[in-house]
């Protein structure tokens, strides 16, 4: 009987250091806590700021819990008669205290939340001297189409961006609602057919980062991923120029073929864009894909996990 009581105490006490340890060691490894741009950085700071409060609350609640459960157990051999007050039913001072403290915590959390929310709606301040690069990111079942109107090129399932320059992503979808997410660059936003969302992200470091659709869109959802290559402005310009020169033109037939529901085996590049005939983010473009491919969803992909097929692994 006695052993059980102790293990109840022990469990909660041991949970705390474990929690802390995992958190501390994991900080620099986990994607969300290892951002490479200002948007992700501000979100990471907000998360860690919140975590401090939350750990504080957890420590207080767990400590009080452990003490009262240990001390006021019915079979505590050290019980004194004054340890039992069955009619004790309220204490205005205490109740005010534990009403006011949460109010203060919520206030302390609200202020940076609201300021960060407003900041995220604008291009980051660190690259204010440059105009943001506009990239249309269009989700289609189950692939990503990236359009660079300035460079007049289009890529499928891979994305190149210059570092130290804000990217203005214009998000829309050809069919179901997806969510554009590159954890190391910053938080996600939805892609919806017939409307356009704007998301400002920026990479301050060069590298290859994982991106994916985070919102469930059906059978091929797991494979709806892409890699983001962040490179210096010069390298990016070279890349864009080579695509523009070497890649084939995008025809409407080819584009319609890409839109058909399914997964693509390879990435693609084109030296023109689909914006010439449809913008899925506009009201006119909302049913473009459904009208052409609405009958193809009957089939199903029969998507299985082939050994070695790891959709989240970077394939260069």
């Amino acid at each position: 009987m006695k052993g059980k009581k102790v293990s109840l105490q022990k469990k909660w006490f041991t949970l705390l250091p474990v929690l802390l340890a995992i958190l501390m060691t994991g900080c620099d490894k986990m994607a969300v806590l290892d951002p490479v741009g200002p948007a992700g950085e501000s979100q990471k700071n907000l998360i860690l700021y919140a975590v401090i409060f939350m750990l504080g609350i957890i420590v207080v609640v767990f400590t009080i819990f452990a003490i009262v459960v240990f001390k006021y157990r019915a079979n505590n051999p050290n019980r004194k008669p004054e340890d039992y007050r069955p009619d004790h039913h309220g204490n205005v001072k205490l109740e005010v205290v534990w009403f006011v403290i949460p109010v203060l915590i919520v206030t302390a959390l609200s202020i940076p939340t609201v300021t960060t929310l407003y900041d995220l709606e604008k291009p980051p301040e660190s690259s204010q001297e440059k105009e943001p690069l506009v990239v249309y990111a269009t989700a289609a079942d189950w692939k990503w189409i990236f359009t660079y109107p300035e460079q007049d090129i289009e890529t499928v399932n891979y994305l190149h961006i210059p570092t130290d320059r804000a990217i203005e992503f214009r998000l829309s979808s050809a069919d179901s609602m997806a969510s554009f997410w590159v954890p190391q660059l910053g938080g996600q936003k939805y892609n919806m057919a017939g409307m356009e969302n704007t998301l400002y992200l920026q990479a301050d470091e060069e590298g290859v980062f994982k991106g994916r659709n985070a919102n469930f869109t059906g059978e091929g959802f797991t494979g709806q991923t892409f890699n983001v290559t962040a490179q210096s402005e010069d390298e990016f310009d070279d890349w864009a120029a080579s695509v523009s020169e070497e890649a084939p033109e995008l025809t409407q037939d080819k584009y319609d073929e890409i839109l058909a529901p399914g997964l693509l085996d390879e990435t693609m590049s084109f030296s023109s864009t689909h914006l010439e005939w449809v913008d899925h983010g506009s009201n006119e473009g909302r049913d473009y894909s459904v009208e052409r491919h609405g009958d193809k969803y009957d089939e199903g992909l029969h998507l299985e996990n082939k050994p070695g097929w790891a959709p989240d692994e970077i394939q260069q």
């Binding site: 998360i47 919140a50 975590v51 009262v68 309220g90 959390l109 995220l120 938080g187 939805y190």
Partner: protein
């Protein structure tokens, strides 16, 4: 339609499911026939309007659904345990997580709690039954047939596969053809009728049928939380009813409420769904809070601390639950202002919830804690739920939510509130009130084993998922890369430990049925504080022969001091009781038939079913059965037997 289109084919797991369904049905039919129990089944259960029996049927159905939803969960965790797993393909995985979510919320959590409310609330307020016993039976049977319809989908026609949130346009007829989503829409619609009717029924019962002297502020906390929950049900469920109806019309009759074509508004579905869906999570958490309050006060042998604050907190949480729905899609791009408003309202919920947590802790202060199995579930709730609560506040911070949204961080959070909140409460409440339902207690030793296995399994399963989420693991992906192997593997082990805990619990029920001493004490634990413990065990079908004047929210404590019971010979009068009737069962069976026809878009059959329902309603409205009376002599006889009195 070909037969192979009607039945789901080509999946060994589903064939196994079909075989087990046939075997279980055959066994049940055989046993009922062999023991000549068909008449008993019909007369005692299928036609009953007794709130206690209906409650037991709710709980049995919910436990069956917990098993089904749990098997779904284990299948998902098996698939995610190793990077190269090919246990479920993508389509099957999608169906499994959709049914897991839907079943656990709609067909497990809610009916389990409604079952406990059914049994306990009339007993806590000193009522003889619900205000509308017939309607209560209609509620149960429409829930039951709704659940059956939904569960049928995995062997007939194909299971829904658009997630339990069933977002448009993915769930529309263009991107999700076939009957799968129709099963979701009509299964929820059918059981939603039952929930809404129960909400009205319980509200009227609590407002109109309380014992003499029991003012609102003298009601036990569980009754309070039930009353507030009924308000949420009545305001929230019509939204779901409308949303489901609109999407059904979209899918079956080709309208354009949520479609991409014809200027539909897919975003409207997300709004309507969560305008119901957020209050819905409070429908399953507030009664749980009520259960914990009762169990903690009982086994701490002390009054609940801050009764008024506890009631106030429930009311405020219920109010706030209607103004936070946008936090489910902060990432939809509504802009900084809208997100700021909903961010703050969301975090505000932490304030009354925090007050409740501290009040429970204060209840334990200067108490005498008895570590019974229901108390263990309730104590474990406090720290576990705190972890779920604080991560909920983190999710409420919209700017950070852009990083948590759609990840395992979110998955972990809502399991951390729904399992320690709702599931622990279901176990605590079931074990606590078990003697009132079945006349004997559950074995404490085995029950504690089940508790520890489940609790440790729970933390092992879900704690690592916070870190998977922060590392960018999106929810609903059907296979994972090797970089997340360790945490996923630990999580899967935890899930199986929870499964083991459930099996031990079932063993506990069977063992106790065979070996537990039959308890005749009304106050079975000896720590009861409220009116339900004043009745003898087993409870007579009229519940209370007489009622004393209620003076506080701990009615039984006062009664014990004054030596009162619910059997006062001077006050006895004949008791009016409702008659049993088969109409609710038949009515719900016809609704099932009509809904099933509609799932496959067999319009003629559906119309025939609809006409059948209307005919049943007409028959009911000409039903002049006024019930019957239990005479004083019979009451004296029953009470004497139940209280073990030998007569003077």
């Amino acid at each position: 339609m070909q037969l192979d289109e009607f039945f789901v084919t080509g999946e060994p797991l589903i064939y196994a499911g079909m075989v087990s369904i046939v075997l279980v049905s055959a066994t049940v039919i055989f046993l009922l026939t062999y023991f000549k129990r068909w008449k008993w089944l019909w007369q005692e259960w299928l036609t009953t309007v007794d709130h206690k029996k209906i409650g037991i049927m709710y709980i049995l159905s919910a436990l069956a659904m917990l098993f089904r939803g749990g098997v779904d969960a284990l299948m998902m965790r098996t698939q995610l345990a190793f990077p190269d797993m090919n246990f479920l393909n993508s389509q099957h995985y999608n169906e499994v997580f959709t049914t897991h979510g839907t079943i656990m919320i709609i067909f497990m959590a809610m009916p389990f709690l409604i079952g406990l409310m059914n049994i306990i609330v009339p007993l806590q307020i000193g009522a003889r039954d619900f205000a509308f016993p017939f309607l209560n039976a209609v509620s149960f049977w429409s829930f039951f047939f709704g659940a059956m319809l939904f569960n049928l989908s995995f062997v007939i026609g194909g299971a829904p596969d658009a997630g339990w949130t069933n977002y448009a346009p993915l769930a529309g007829s263009e991107l999700s053809p076939g009957p799968g989503i129709n099963f979701y829409l009509l299964g929820l619609q059918l059981s939603g009728i039952g929930t809404l009717a129960t909400g009205i029924n319980l509200m009227v019962t609590i407002l109109r049928m309380r014992a003499p002297g029991m003012t609102l502020m003298k009601m036990p906390i569980f009754t309070w939380s039930t009353l507030i929950t009924t308000f949420i049900i009545i305001f929230a469920f019509p939204i779901l009813t409308v949303a489901l109806a609109l999407m059904t019309i979209d899918r079956i009759f080709g309208s354009h409420f949520f479609t991409l074509t014809g200027e539909g508004l897919p975003m409207m579905w997300a709004n309507l769904f969560w305008m119901w869906g957020h209050p819905e999570v409070y429908i399953v958490i507030l009664p749980a809070f009520g259960i914990f309050s009762e169990v903690i006060a009982s086994f701490a042998q002390k009054q609940i601390f801050g009764y008024k604050a506890m009631v106030g907190a429930i009311v405020i949480i219920a109010g706030l639950s209607f103004v936070v729905w946008v936090h489910h899609f902060f990432t939809m791009g509504a802009g900084a202002f809208v997100n700021s408003v909903f961010s703050i309202t969301t975090m505000m919920i932490a304030i009354p919830t925090g007050v409740k947590i501290f009040n429970w802790l204060a209840t334990l202060y200067k108490s005498k804690i008895v570590f019974s199995a229901p108390m263990l579930w309730s104590l474990a709730f406090i720290p576990s739920f705190t972890i779920g609560g604080v991560t909920g506040v983190m999710l409420g911070m919209a700017a950070a939510d852009y990083q948590y949204h759609n990840t395992y961080f979110l998955v972990s959070h809502f399991h951390y509130v729904l399992i320690p909140g709702t599931v622990f409460a279901c176990f605590a409440g079931l074990i606590f009130w078990y003697p009132k339902m079945f006349g004997h207690k559950l074995n404490e030793r085995i029950g504690k084993w089940a508790f520890w296995l489940f609790l440790i399994g729970f933390h092992l399963c879900f704690f690592p998922q916070y870190f998977l989420g922060l590392d960018g693991m999106a929810r609903r992906i059907f296979t994972v890369g090797p970089e997340w192997f360790t945490l996923n593997f630990i999580s899967t082990m935890g899930a199986f430990l929870m499964g083991l805990g459930f099996i031990v619990f079932v063993h506990c029920v069977i063992y106790s049925f065979r070996f537990s001493p039959r308890n005749i004490e009304g106050d079975s634990w000896g720590y009861g504080r409220t009116l339900e413990w004043a009745t003898p065990t087993p409870i007579p079908k009229y519940n209370f022969a007489t009622l004393p004047e209620i003076e506080s929210h701990d009615a039984l404590i006062d009664m014990k001091e004054k030596g009162q019971t619910t059997f006062d010979r001077d006050k006895l009068e004949p008791i009016h009781m409702p008659s049993y009737t088969g109409q609710p069962f038949i009515m719900a069976a016809i609704m099932f038939f009509a809904s099933f026809a509609l799932v496959f878009e067999w319009i003629t059959l559906a119309v025939i079913g609809l006409v059948g329902i209307i005919v049943m309603m007409i028959i009911r409205s000409f039903d002049y059965d006024e019930g019957y009376h239990i005479e004083v002599d019979e009451i004296i006889e029953t009470e004497k037997k139940a209280r073990g009195m030998t007569d003077e």
